[in-house]
Amino acid sequence: MPRPMIEVENLGKRYRISVREKEPLTLWESISAPFKAPFSYLRKTLRAPTEAETLWAIRNVSFQVQEGEVLGVLGRNGAGKSTLLKTLARITDPTEGRAIMRGRVGSLLEVGTGFHAELTGRENIYLSGAILGMKKAEIDRKLDEIIAFAEIERFLDMPIKRYSSGMAVRLGFAVAAHLEPEILIVDEVLAVGDASFQRKCLGKMSQVANQGRTVLFVSHNVANMLRLCPRGILLERGQLVGEGAMEAIVKQYMSQVIETRQQIQFNDLSSAPGSDQVRLMGACVVDADGEPAVTVNIEEPIEIHYRYCTLKPNVRFRCAVNFSLHGTMAFTTMEPLEYVHAEPGVYEAHVVIPGNLLAEGDYSLDVSIFTSRGRKVRHLYLTEALGIHVYDPLSGNSARGDYTENYGGLLRPRLNWHKAFLGRDYSVPVALPQPLIEPTTANVSL
């Protein structure tokens, strides 16, 4: 077994935070405070910080990364991701523990590091390249590639203060993408630029990973993480709380993030949502394996499960669920019939949402049970009770096919397209084209 490229052992970083001074209580205290200030300041800086004055941004973090591995670092804001990266990139010192990096380290914590607005594009390539650790000869060699990647040929000798922000970002990434370290540390930088450039950057990133270089990658974008990193670690309040396959880590992460809930459960029937006829016991989203689905592969079907109990005989109602994306209702699905629940007891209802129907993004699901025929009753309506994150692994089997740029819409059904060559007769057709639709018969039984 070769030695790991990155070995992190009990790494910890403590920051000293300022604690609010106590307010002066008496007139004498408020008069004398400014004169005492230098002394109390000195006393405070000279002694070791107390427990209340310190904040461990990361603590007891240990993990290893093998050569050629791409490790994703997930965690919410303030979980310590940036501190971890800054420590490994040697920007700041750890307070305890240690890390061994077995190779040349390049870090990319920002796009366009060291750019100077007054200098031209070409000059900035050299400056930023040198700051990121490239030699002049290395930059000379890669100059053409960098310019081509950034797509800024025409503006090369213009000061970058005249660049659009998109151009500056492209140039910044292009320089960084041509770094050749053995270990690459990348923060959140893919979140910039337009969709097509992001796509290009992602391509470059996976290319880097495929060449056997070791990459440590931080992003909030779960979809990018799933695409690029087979393995991940999860940080929570500075501690390492998960390590393993990226899919499992993403699930764990999504359950931390409130908006995504794959399951709701009500153990106490008396307080469970519902009416005097029906009470909801729980609802959940599961994938084909019966596992709770938080991050959903766009190609795969999911199931929404309801479990409820009826409190009276012969109650009649139906279950429904609304899917909303970015606050806009995408669609509603409901049971086509209002089923009569003859016996009081526990029931289950479920619906399959086929693969290749939902779009990419975070859907929130409203769960409801209602009666519409006869006396109208809304037994329960839970807004945003469940949430899922749909991502496209870009395998080519989704509605995208091989299209990788921005794709709008609240839904993304994969539909069949047909095409035929009709010859060189340019005249306007007299007859309407022959439809390919096969006639279907309505088959709804009531």
């Binding site: 920051y15 700041t92 400056l127 002049k136 050749e180 053995e182």
Partner: protein, 287 residues
């Protein structure tokens, strides 16, 4: 595309670059070799400095000359004309200008410990490189300024018919001593400012004090004999005397005191380098 793939694929991990990241404890090696590996960065930083410093200014590079010339006029009026300080028979303006050039280099070297770290805050919080590159950049830019001002000085010597002696070959050495002393002081300041911010205020007072404790605006002949030894422990006193000796034909510096103060400056610089090495990665948490 093919070329790109090729250039990226020829990469094998080497164990020659193992980096151990640990809390800074005690004194670690200076690792000046790493600094040498970053020489291209130093080159580009100096180039950036020179290229951008005077963009969008009305007078442009003329500013390089304005600074010492302005001080020269000011000091000539105050100390030469009004206070009538002796200048050893040399016109007072040349006398003081000749001292101001190395003094400005020294002053920049002192500031190089802290100012560039503050103005490049964005950089040092985003990428690793030996932080010593920043002070060195500042010093090299300062030397470029010096060379331009030095041409003016040569012009003055010609105008006032003053002829330099063989000591002019020692000018680079005197300048180096000013830099060693300045950088040593500046890096010690930087190390202290990292912990106690208000020391930044104190350091500017110390430099101003040192200026009057050095023969910038007066000749060291007026210093009372009982302070002679203490006075000449200050490397800048010997540097300025050396400059005036070599260029203006003033009496030669005290070689013994020059040797002692050079030794002191070297000790200061080496200890400052070690201390700076110890704190350089805490700088980002402070600035």
């Amino acid at each position: 595309m093919e070329a790109q793939l090729e250039s990226l694929s020829t990469h094998t991990a080497s164990s020659s670059h193992t980096i151990i990241i640990e809390p800074a404890r005690g004194w670690s090696a200076l690792n000046l070799r790493e600094l040498w590996e970053y020489r291209d960065l130093l080159y580009f930083m100096v180039w950036r400095d020179l290229k951008t410093r005077y963009r969008q200014t009305a007078l442009g590079p003329l500013w390089i000359l304005i600074q010492p010339l302005f001080s020269m006029v000011l000091y000539t009026i105050i100390f030469g004309v009004i206070a009538k300080l002796p200048s050893g028979g040399v016109p007072y303006q040349v006398f003081t200008y000749c001292a101001l050039l190395p003094w400005d280099v020294f002053n920049d070297a002192v500031n190089s410990g802290s100012t560039p770290l503050l103005s490049n805050r964005d950089l040092i919080s985003k990428v690793y490189f030996p932080r010593l590159v920043l002070p060195l950049t500042r010093i090299i830019s300062s030397l470029v300024d010096f060379s331009i001002s030095f041409i003016i000085l040569i012009g003055m010597l010609v105008f006032y018919r003053l002829s330099p002696n063989w000591g002019i070959v020692l000018v680079p050495f005197f300048l180096l001593l000013a830099i060693i002393f300045g950088l040593g002081t500046g890096l010690w300041f930087a190390g202290i400012i990292v912990k106690y911010r208000d020391f930044g205020q104190i350091s500017s007072y110390l430099v101003r004090f040192l200026m009057y404790a050095s023969p910038v605006v007066y000749s060291s002949e007026i210093v009372p004999k009982q302070f002679y030894f203490i006075y000449h422990l200050n490397p800048m006193a010997n540097v300025l005397e050396g400059f005036r000796w070599a260029l203006l034909g003033s009496p030669p510096p005290d070689w013994r005191m020059l040797g002692i103060s050079t030794l002191l400056a070297l000790v200061l610089l080496v200890s400052a380098l070690y201390n700076f090495k110890r704190v350089e990665r805490s700088i980002v948490d402070i600035v």
